[in-house]
């Protein structure tokens, strides 16, 4: 039996202003009907370029070469532009990452769905509409008929991704390529979409390629997996084999650098792959991973490495044999187990260093040009204490108000109710100077948190300059010292931010935050914009610095695995309110609020074949401008009863270090 899609030794060369760049080299894989191939890799590994090459969507001037590139009985290499266009709507369908931009905002859902079908098949409008309704129901959209006349902006992100999937199914494709289908979605929605894709694939017996940077997603849904690094497949095989017995040092490192809930010793260092993902503009002569590999060998430097067969369908690209791979040095900077003392020694009786007292923030939002402004409660009367040495994580999905809370705590956003105390003083009364000496921040996006017009040295030295600390020579010495501490080469001093990679930029942001020796650092999603292997480096750095400088962290994040790894206490937020507060260990072992339980359940660990847990929260995240009555979570809660609809629950203590806001707590306990 020949596979539906066969890719053999595909190379893609892109033309750039600076010359040619081989983005993908010698990539081979096959996918058959009913099979799921997961392609996993960090940014710049060539995973998206491969899929675009199959679709024939690469820009003009790009050269795609392959010994075989075939879908069914069509040779994709020799197909004309017209034939490819026919194939794209009909036989291959692609689901993109960003549901916000992949639907055209000026046409209705119905028009976009039926147009595709009428374009490729000569069917009547009525037939097409009937099919559209049919498919929308299939992807779990209620009131499908009426959705057809809606515009994309009227739907939430999760719904839009469902519409996108339904649209792709209109013409019965044989192959679906999903490029990061859930990256832009919230974790609780992610599980639903993945389950949907998986079910549809089984039902319709199509081939599915899922491309993701998230090992968890790929592990849960794929049958086969291809790990890509710097434009090559470094390891491939059945998902069970590759994840349970990874052969290539990169795969091993990647798996080790993911914090896995339940197996984490809090405070221990994660295993990490040193160095950076190489730029594809590099001309590779030998093994592409050699410069980051701790088992680098003389043989690695002697020319390109071919894929070796490891049996049972598994193959990997390394000079070492399975036997030599097993012994010898570890493939990555060794993870260090925490000594169990992490988080101890915090005096919970001490007065808090940072405190929010019934702090709230309400924005006035105008929905239309003539409508009156409506209040939007971004943060609703939150009380929060931060004590010396703690690492408090605030978790929640997008729109829950956690970033507004962070801005209030930083003194960048004035609370409209309550107050924020820094060391016992109202933060609004402190001057910028006083506040910034104690309180610093690290932002989410290292691409926008550094001024592109300033050199790295200027950026890091700026706080010293503003605060007038020391002479220029002393300031430069301090900058040198902190750059070395966070792992930036001194030679970066005169470079501009855009010459650095994401991980290096985040190090710059950390250096800038720490140069004034603050007591508290607010980290707003410090690793969410980074690649997995780099995320581990940054988390380890944050932990080391905490121990060295006695820092207190407030961590804002949506990533539960990161939380379990470094937080000592967790605050779960939903729609502007705190629903649960607990010690990290207690929260993960015994979550009490239904929302916390759902959040924990939707974490996807890279466990092959485990399937995607079904998290049924029903409807989408509510619009904060029209919050549900009573408990804001009740429309999505399976335990909800009548009282939840009318009365908002308050935080109740379950133990000295565990509070939860839910009416149904007692009943669950029984």
């Amino acid at each position: 039996m020949t596979a539906l899609l066969e890719v053999q030794d595909m190379s893609v060369t892109l033309k750039l202003a600076e010359g040619e760049m081989t983005a993908v080299q010698d990539v081979s894989f096959t996918v058959d009907r009913g099979e799921t191939l997961g392609i996993v890799g960090e940014s710049g590994s060539g995973k998206s370029v491969s899929s675009m090459a199959i679709m024939g969507l690469l820009p003009r001037g790009t050269r795609t070469e392959a010994t075989t590139l075939r879908l069914g009985d069509v040779d994709l290499l020799s197909a004309s532009e017209e034939e490819m266009a026919r194939l794209r709507g009909n036989k291959i369908a692609m689901i993109f990452q960003e549901p916000m931009t992949s639907l055209n905002p000026v046409y209705t859902i119905g028009r976009q769905m039926t147009e595709l079908m009428q374009l490729h098949k000569s069917v009547s409008g009525a037939t097409a509409r009937a099919r559209a309704v049919d498919l929308l129901e299939k992807v779990g959209i209620t009131a499908a008929e009426s959705r057809l006349s809606q515009y994309p902006h009227q739907l939430s992100g999760g719904l839009r991704q469902r519409v996108m999937i339904a649209m792709m199914l209109m013409n019965d494709p044989e192959l679906i390529i999903a490029d990061e289908p859930t990256t832009a979605l919230d974790v609780t929605i992610q599980a639903q979409i993945l389950n949907l894709l998986k079910d549809l694939q089984k039902e319709l017996n199509v081939a599915l390629i899922i491309i993701s940077h998230d090992m968890g997603v790929v592990a849960r849904v794929s049958d086969k997996i291809a790990v890509m690094y710097a434009g090559q497949v470094v390891e491939t095989g059945p998902v069970e084999n590759v994840l349970r017995a990874p052969k290539h040092p990169y795969t091993q490192g990647l798996l080790e650098s993911i914090p896995v809930p339940g197996q984490i010793e809090p405070g221990g260092a994660l295993g990490s792959i040193p160095g950076l993902v190489p730029s594809l503009k590099t001309r590779f002569k030998c093994c592409r991973f050699a410069n980051r590999c701790l088992r680098v060998h003389e043989a690695c430097q002697q020319g390109p490495v071919a894929l070796q067969n490891a049996g049972r369908g598994q193959a990997y690209r390394c000079v070492l044999t399975p036997e030599t791979l097993r012994d010898g040095a570890s493939s990555l900077a060794a993870p260090e187990a925490g000594d169990g003392s992490y988080g101890t020694g915090i005096n919970m009786g001490a007065s808090p260093v940072l405190q929010a007292i019934d702090a709230g923030c309400t924005f006035q939002v105008k929905q239309g040009m003539f409508s009156a402004a409506k209040p939007l409660r971004a943060v609703d009367e939150i009380s929060l204490d931060l004590r010396q040495g703690e690492v408090v994580a605030v978790v929640g999905e997008s729109g829950c108000g956690k970033s507004t809370l962070a801005r209030m705590l930083l003194g960048l956003q004035e609370p409209t109710a309550g107050q924020i105390l820094l060391g016992g003083q109202d933060i609004a009364e402190l001057s910028d100077m006083e506040r910034s000496r104690k309180l610093q921040s690290i932002f989410q996006d290292p691409y926008s948190s550094l001024n592109p017009r300033r050199t790295i040295g200027e950026i890091i030295r700026r706080p010293l300059h503003l605060h007038g600390v020391g002479s220029l020579v002393e300031q430069r010495a301090k900058v040198d010292a902190i750059m070395e501490r966070v792992g930036l080469p001194r030679s970066f001093y005169h470079n501009y931010p855009n010459q650095l990679s994401g991980g290096q930029r985040q190090r710059v942001a950390i250096a800038r935050a720490l140069i004034l020796n603050p007591e508290i650092v607010v980290c707003d999603e410090p690793t969410s914009a980074l690649d997995v292997s780099v995320q581990a480096q940054i988390l380890n750095l944050l932990l080391e610095l905490r121990a060295e400088m006695g820092l207190t962290y407030l961590l804002i994040t949506h990533d539960m695995a990161v939380v379990e790894h470094i937080a000592t206490r967790v605050v779960v937020m939903y729609l502007g309110r705190v629903v649960e507060v607990a010690d990290t260990h207690r929260l993960f072992s015994n979550p009490r609020h239904p929302y916390t339980q759902a959040l924990l359940k939707s974490v996807l660990t890279p466990e092959p074949g485990a399937g995607v847990p079904s998290v049924d929260l029903g409807t989408a995240y509510p619009n904060p401008i029209n919050p549900p009555s009573g408990c804001a979570f009740h429309p999505r809660c399976e335990f909800a009863s009548d009282i939840c609809k009318v009365k908002a629950p308050v935080l109740e203590s379950l133990s000295p270090s565990h509070q939860s806001a839910c009416h149904m707590l007692e009943k669950e306990m029984v």
């Binding site: 590099t282 930083l410 910028d432 503003l466």
Partner: protein, 302 residues
């Protein structure tokens, strides 16, 4: 381990090679438009500043016996008057050289004045938003509704014309584009995380505006400046042509065209020469602006 460290160090070496200054020079050397624009603008500026050294004759001395001598390439020309003479027998080359003073001076002066007004309004409106922004936008709408050339004519006519009046009037009437561009960009940049980061390290509003935001607007401001300078140069020529700009006998390119308009059909060089100078200067200013943007844009600093 050692090998790894070396390899990593080598990779880092590839990235760092040039200092910022070297990088700018390298890029300027490969940008033809910038070089051409800069060459023309700098030469015109030098000629304007040192006009007495370059001009072969006094531009104001009339010699009616030598009226309308054609330029050297035409028949009946005279090597003493390279570009011929005008209807009053004044040396055309000398007038052209002295005219550059007016064109460059008014162009640079008025564009700078407009820049200061527009950037200030734009920065404040974009950064503060709210009512200030609404007021600024209203001001902008009013300004856009005014026929600027007509208004300039009226103003100059009332105040009495001099080069300074021209600069002030044209400057005050040419701030809209600076304001629109600055306001939009300021609003965008204000929402970026490096502004929040600057606030959290203790910068106040003034420091955020001047250290974080303004430097990131420079590219666009320079481009608008070059466009506006070209527009103002043409406006000055128009006003002089219409008789409300620079007054005779002062030499200005627009005035030269105006004075020659009756002879346009049988002595075309009288119009073509100042017109060509105007065209060349405006083109060069535009090329220079584009060049500066390309060279200093941080996006392409690789």
């Amino acid at each position: 381990m050692q090998t790894t460290a070396n390899a990593v160090a080598q990779m880092a070496d590839q990235i760092i090679d040039l200092t910022p200054k070297e990088r700018l020079i390298r890029k300027a050397k490969s940008h033809l438009g910038f070089q051409f624009g800069a060459f023309i603008v700098v030469s015109f500026a030098l000629i304007a500043i040192f006009a007495p050294l370059f001009a072969p004759h006094d531009p104001f001395v009339q010699d009616l016996t030598k009226r309308l001598v054609p330029p050297v390439w035409a028949e009946g020309s005279n090597w003493e008057y390279l570009l011929g003479t005008d209807h009053l027998g004044r040396d055309y080359l000398s007038r052209l050289i002295y005219g550059a003073r007016v064109s460059m001076g008014v162009g640079f002066g008025a564009a700078t004045l407009g820049c200061m007004i527009g950037v200030t309004i734009g920065l404040v409106a974009g950064y503060l938003g709210g009512r200030v922004d609404q007021a600024a936008s209203f001001l902008l709408t009013c300004q856009l509704a005014l026929p600027s050339l007509l208004l300039a004519m009226a103003l100059v006519f009332f105040v009495g014309s001099s080069v300074i009046t021209l600069i002030v009037v044209l400057g005050v009437l040419h701030w809209q584009y600076y304001m629109v561009v600055t306001r939009t960009l300021t609003r965008q940049i204000r929402a970026l995380e490096y502004v929040s980061a600057a606030r959290s390290i203790g910068s106040n509003d003034r420091q955020v505006l001047f250290y974080e935001i303004l430097p990131n607007l420079l590219n666009q401001i320079i481009v608008v400046f070059s466009l506006e300078m070209a527009v103002v140069i043409i406006h000055e020529a128009s006003l002089s042509f219409l008789g409300v700009g620079v007054q005779p006998p002062t030499a200005s390119w627009g005035l030269m065209i105006a004075e020659a308009k009756t002879m346009m059909y049988f002595k075309p060089y009288l119009v073509v020469i100042p017109g060509a100078a105007l065209f060349l200067l405006v083109l060069a200013v535009n090329l220079l602006g584009d060049g500066i943007r390309d060279i200093t844009a941080p996006e392409s600093r690789n």
